[in-house]
């Protein structure tokens, strides 16, 4: 009897330990990502100077005349992400204000899941849409638009990000205490005034968190830009010509058969490091902003 109880106890301990290992695996994943990126990036910078990486205006690691300036990839990433945010931020915010402050409950309940569908569609599908529907459509208005460009994938990426912004901002607005709204109404404010001058400012850190997360998502988005933005690293802010983003470059190299261990192979890790740390910083900021509202109102 006692023996069985002890055996049971040991079994329980073993189980608990294996569950602990499962939890610790997530730490190992992060550790693995950082280790892999840093290791290859250090090897990369043994051959290429940091100064060249950050200041050279050309990115041509796959050509005979090699240049390793990341600026063109950064400008491509910035351009497509900025266009995406310009589309997603106003639209997402208007949707959030309407759904949280004006829409009747049934409309709200039915609209939210439909908006979420946008976030669940595979990104290759968005890429197809950007290349073969949006670009030709835009070309009828802007004839100088090239077949690959930053504008169409940027806009389509914006549509993909709308549910992220609208649902996070709506959550933040929902968390604003009802008493603030009632106080403003008692002072004679209309619903729109309450929404724009009380609820939005009160939910500001939540909206800012949504913005940062959206930027991070846009920077890391891969397939839309790999399909529709072209693969020509170019230091420009012109949305009408082909560009290449950091993510699209990684895809481009991965598709070719670059031998492992070469400098060309290491470039994708150097670019990946840049990508990882910029999204990490944005995510951390976004998270700390969201925690701040939770502390304030709960």
């Amino acid at each position: 009897m006692l023996l069985r109880a002890r055996r049971k106890r040991v079994g329980e301990r073993a189980l608990q330990f294996s569950f602990f290992l499962c939890g610790a695996l997530s730490l190992l994943t992060t550790f693995g990502i950082v280790a892999v990126l840093i290791f290859e990036t250090v090897e990369f910078f043994a051959e290429v100077s940091l100064l060249e990486f950050l200041t050279d205006t050309q990115w041509t690691p796959l050509f005979a005349q090699k240049h390793f300036g990341i600026l063109p990839l950064l400008s491509g990433t910035f351009l497509t992400s900025a266009i995406a945010i310009l589309v997603a931020m106003p639209v997402g915010l208007v949707c959030a204000i309407y759904l949280s402050e004006f829409a009747p409950e049934p409309v709200r309940r039915k609209t939210k899941p439909v908006l979420e569908v946008l976030a669940g569609i595979p990104t290759v599908v968005y890429g197809y849409f950007a290349l073969l529907f949006v670009t030709p459509l835009l070309q009828t208005f802007v004839p100088s638009l090239s077949g690959f460009n930053a504008l169409a994938p940027g806009m389509v990426m914006g549509i993909m990000i709308i549910p992220l912004i609208s649902s996070l901002s709506e959550d933040a607005m929902y968390a604003v205490p009802q008493s603030l709204r009632e106080a403003a109404h008692a002072l004679g404010a209309s619903r729109l005034q309450v929404a724009l001058r009380v609820v939005v400012p009160a939910a500001f850190s939540g909206i800012a968190a949504a913005f940062l997360l959206a930027v991070s998502r846009a920077i890391g988005e891969t397939m839309i830009v790999a399909i529709a933005a072209g693969q020509q690293p170019r230091l420009t802010l012109n949305p009408l010509v082909p560009v290449e983003t950091m993510t699209a470059y990684i895809v481009q190299v991965s598709l070719g058969d670059t031998p492992t261990g070469t400098l060309e192979y290491r470039t994708i890790f150097a670019v990946g490091t840049m990508l990882f740390f910029s999204t990490l910083i944005l995510n951390l900021f976004s998270r700390s902003l969201r925690e701040r509202i939770r502390e304030r109102y709960e």
């Binding site: 499962c22 997530s26 669940g120 599908v125 849409f129 709308i162 890391g220 397939m223 990946g272």
Partner: protein, 293 residues
């Protein structure tokens, strides 16, 4: 007094109309967004419907656009998702059980929690770089189905853990206390009470996490999955391709004929996604009814 009243009246009317205008603009914005969604889906369906046929589903890719089929990608996606689930679901649920049922609220569980939230925000292509270096090169798995599944498992793990924790948290503490009161041990309580109540939530969460993974092309391309495969994977170490990679491959060809194949591939991918989501909804409803009656 009178001019002031007129002024007030004008202000109120103006206010009334701005509010009206805002509402109309907001509804119009929503309608435009939903119309874009409809255009996106309709565009793929109209482009691809003509190309969709039994021959398309049962043929291998080809140099001739009209003969190209999606069999290798469809089978590859199926194998990859099953393997990913086999690896990721037990580990994810285990981690969720540890964090919800065992871990004390100390610095360690706090670190793990922040870490999981951050992992969920890492761009998927970064997981591809990790998979390339760790599974493909260091572990020598090459560009195989197994390497792909492990990469995908790491990608969906944070989502499964988050969903699993939510499902476990939804089980009322009174159930656990009742079980302890009857003399059950911790694991017995978890195994027979908590898990059986949380099961539908965990299942739905896992299916939804996998349906996220099924549309991912970037990490697999990065770890080196092939884009052109004219045979079926015959083992864990066989090379493979998946639906989104096949679609990407067809979209990036210069010949127009492949665009129709890409659109037909998109229809297949969307149908698979729809089926998975429907399954998740169905399972949730079915099990919930059984449990609470």
């Amino acid at each position: 007094m009178r001019p002031q009243a007129a002024e007030l009246y004008r202000m109120l009317t103006l206010r009334h109309w701005t509010e009206r205008l805002f509402k109309i603009a907001a509804v119009a914005t929503l309608v435009i967004v939903l119309a874009t969604l409809a255009a996106l889906l309709l565009n793929a369906v109209t482009d691809g419907a003509g190309r969709l046929s039994w021959q398309f589903l049962t043929s291998f890719p080809s140099r001739k656009p009209e003969e190209a089929g999606i069999l290798a990608a469809l089978v590859g996606t199926t194998y990859l998702m099953i393997l990913t689930a086999v690896v990721a679901v037990p580990v994810g649920v285990g981690a969720a059980i540890y964090l919800e049922e065992y871990a004390k609220k100390g610095w360690f569980s706090r670190v793990v929690e922040v870490n999981i939230a951050n992992l969920a925000g890492v761009p998927s292509i970064i997981y591809g770089l990790l998979g390339l270096e760790l599974f493909v090169r260091a572990m020598g798995l090459d560009r195989s189905l197994l390497a792909g599944a492990l990469t995908m498992a790491l990608l969906v793990l944070p989502i499964i853990i988050i969903a699993g924790r939510e499902a476990l948290r939804a089980v009322p503490p009174s159930i656990r206390e009742a079980s302890y009161a009857l003399g059950a041990s911790r694991w017995q309580t978890i195994r027979y009470q908590v898990l059986s109540l949380a099961f539908p939530g965990i299942l739905t969460g896992s299916i939804l996490a996998l349906s996220r993974a099924i549309g991912e092309a970037a990490p697999l391309i990065t770890m080196g999955a092939l884009t052109y495969i004219a045979f079926l994977p015959d083992g864990l170490l066989a090379p493979f391709t998946v639906l989104p990679i096949q679609i990407f491959n067809w979209v990036s060809r210069p010949q127009k004929g492949f665009f129709a194949a890409a659109a037909a591939g998109i229809i297949v991918l969307l149908v698979v996604l729809l089926l998975m989501n429907a399954l998740a909804v169905y399972l949730r409803q079915r099990y919930q009814r059984r449990l609470y009656l």
